[in-house]
Homo-oligomer: 187 residues x 2
């Protein structure tokens, strides 16, 4: 990829992120992004079709990165015992979040965080589904698998949302404990 393209793309993402810290997504204009990134109007439209398109691409980059790292984590460490596998992935994710890779926390705590959280949940859903398939563990057979997968990813995302709302007073380890406490009894 052309160095110029990389720079422009990065500048747009950066400006978009800065704007999101102070303004609602809906109220951010393409013009503001252009001004913030200090680029020409036509340049923006050479990169992204619309503001929604920009949002989608940003989500792809952000969560693609964090989810891939989670997948690698399970691969690198090989197979865990049935009881530990899913926990580790969540703790790993929480630590990643706390490190604030790519200012992901800024986006998850902005006024328009819903958009990002929803995307995050969809990514998580895939991850957990794979985990379930890979380890044909004995689990609660009262509940449909897709309900369970949805419940786990949903609960995780809602917990992150709560964590952020409470100004991240808790450590990843604490959160991991809480999460185990509400998920393990039902598996």
């Amino acid at each position: 990829m052309d160095r110029r393209q990389q720079k422009t793309r990065a500048a747009i993402f950066k400006a978009f992120g800065v704007l999101l810290e102070h303004k609602n997504y809906n109220n951010i204009t393409v013009q503001e992004i252009i001004d913030g990134a200090n680029i020409g109007r036509s340049t923006f439209y050479a990169h992204f079709e619309t503001k929604d398109d920009l949002l989608k691409e940003l989500c792809k980059e952000l969560f693609g990165h964090i989810i891939n790292s989670a997948i690698d984590c399970t691969h690198t460490h090989g197979l865990y015992s049935d009881n530990n596998a899913p926990k580790s992935v969540f703790c790993h994710l929480l630590q990643h979040l706390e490190e604030n890779d790519n200012n992901i926390l800024g986006l998850l705590s902005c006024e328009s965080s819903d958009i990002f959280l929803r995307y995050f949940k969809d990514s998580l859903n895939e991850l957990i589904k794979i985990q379930f398939v890979n380890q044909d563990r004995h689990r609660n057979t009262m509940l449909p698998e897709d309900f369970l997968v949805n419940h786990i990813s949903g609960s995780f995302v809602e917990m992150v949302l709560w964590w952020i709302k409470e100004h991240m007073k808790h450590s990843p380890t604490e959160l991991d404990q809480y999460f185990r406490a509400v998920i393990e009894p039902i598996l």
Copy 2:
């Protein structure tokens, strides 16, 4: 309230709802709402400051109604035994949803459902918090109360989201069972 105002307000809500069934919230223009409601431009702005304002008012009406009915439900039936109180409220809510009061399901299943679900969750959070306070039951003391409240309301909303995504194949009773299965073990 003047009958004219009532009619106009209803026409705007109706038109807005119809538009939401086919278009994303972001891409709906005030002009379209005006045309759909068949009212004058200045009339719209006499009722709502912005499109966001309209959204907020719609949420207030919708969820105010359903949540109040849930609160009444707990009052009318008096106090339940410690074990049954929260369940009943959720089942009641699910039945209300299935009855599709005010086409609430249309809004919860539209492309912009996130907005409504988030508002729904906030309302639920209040409801559950009150439930917890009213019945100083013996509960899991390993978890902070606000974490637990958030987990319950979050899980419920995520379940509804899943239910809708799966085209509402399950009955309220089934959902209530699933929900009990994932919540009761942790209380």
